[in-house]
Symmetry: none
Subunit: 123 residues, 4 copies
DNA sequence: GTGGTCTAGACCACC
DNA sequence: GTGGTCTAGACCACA
């Protein structure tokens, strides 16, 4: 048993993930201007370079694009956003099932529990 | 947007969770002797006080109990373990659904995707 | 007429290009160990971060991969190298033809001159 | 591996080359008046002395000549222009072939690729 | 020793 | 003001 106590995860990747979520969940809409690297860095309490690194990654994925002097913008390619949304979902599902499996729940049990939880949630 | 970058979560609680998992998943079995606080602290790379705090919490829950002179042991009350197992599962499920909801997936979609993932996993 | 006097080109991209050439031309062979970021940075007279940025780009392309503690290595996927070789060639050709066109040479003339140059080169 | 990162090439020579191109490509026509050194220097964002040096070189080559009081003019000797055009072309070709050779393409391959590129360009 | 990450602070080009 | 690049120097995990 050797543990990494949370968050050996690079900050810039945590930021990337948060921004991906903001985009696929519609908090940022296609075409929206993204706040400047410097602003975001201050908000997040990180160095501008770290934020920059995160933005570069988002750009590589095609979720945002930068206009030299006017800022960064969310892609207007909604198919791209949908695709990322599905990738993120898949990742969430796999991690979730891994954790559940580790606790000894098999697929059917998971589905059953999930449906039960949903039913309770509706009440 | 104001961010806490990962894990303001107290270390000892992260440890508690990991130990709970080890127990409900059967890595530690009912009646097993738990390694000494010092050993565990070294393995986890944390201060013994932190590990101690984690053990106290597990005791409070009833998952382990200490025999004054001979050390700590996993509870033999399997019902208790089962109960914790289900609580943990419920927590996982709720967190999972929260994250999925945030991405705009509703309950039905989640179940569908999950079943699809299971089918793929079997191949 | 507004000029950028050479090399507004980022250093890290110039480095990337040089390394691509070294790889596709066989100076670095598949599986070869790449000198450490720090060594390369000293040789090139740049900051290690700049060299790191270049290596990350090469990695993204798949031309090299890094082994956490033992260093970086040229990919052994020769098809990948061949592909990059062809991309680089295509780029060279297009830039060349653009320049020649700007001087008023059309395709046929270019080929003719090129063949003439080759014949002279052989003497 | 020891690198000179781009363009130790003197600025005035880079300018000379650009002006040669402007002439042989017909942007400046035989007999045209050349803008003043000051104007050109401002456009290019260089020191007037640097631009002056470039003009002197062009004069040496015979591509422009200065009329003491009325300014500088492009030569009307079209044969001279043609000659320079061919020299520039030759230089381009040689540099191009050098680069391609370095990547391991031989003459025939180069011609083949070039013709292929031309065919694609026409579509 | 390796790669990877992060910070702090600077300069540039563009508009 | 924006994004982009670069330097200098630090710390970490891994083995």
């Amino acid at each position: 048993m050797s543990w990494v106590l949370d968050s050996g995860r690079p900050i810039y990747l945590q930021i990337v993930e948060r921004l991906e979520l903001s985009i696929v969940s519609g908090q940022f809409k296609p075409g929206d201007k993204v706040p400047s690297v410097r602003e975001l860095a201050v908000e997040a309490g990180v160095n501008p370079n770290t934020m920059q690194k995160a933005m570069v990654e988002l750009e590589r994925q095609g979720l945002v694009h930068s206009e030299r002097t006017s800022g960064r913008f969310i892609t207007e390619d909604e198919a791209m956003i949908t695709q990322v949304r599905e990738e993120l979902a898949k990742k969430q599902i796999q991690e979730f099932m891994e954790r559940m499996n580790k606790m000894g729940f098999d697929g059917e049990e998971i589905v059953t529990l999930l449906q039960k939880t949903m039913r309770e949630g509706k009440k």
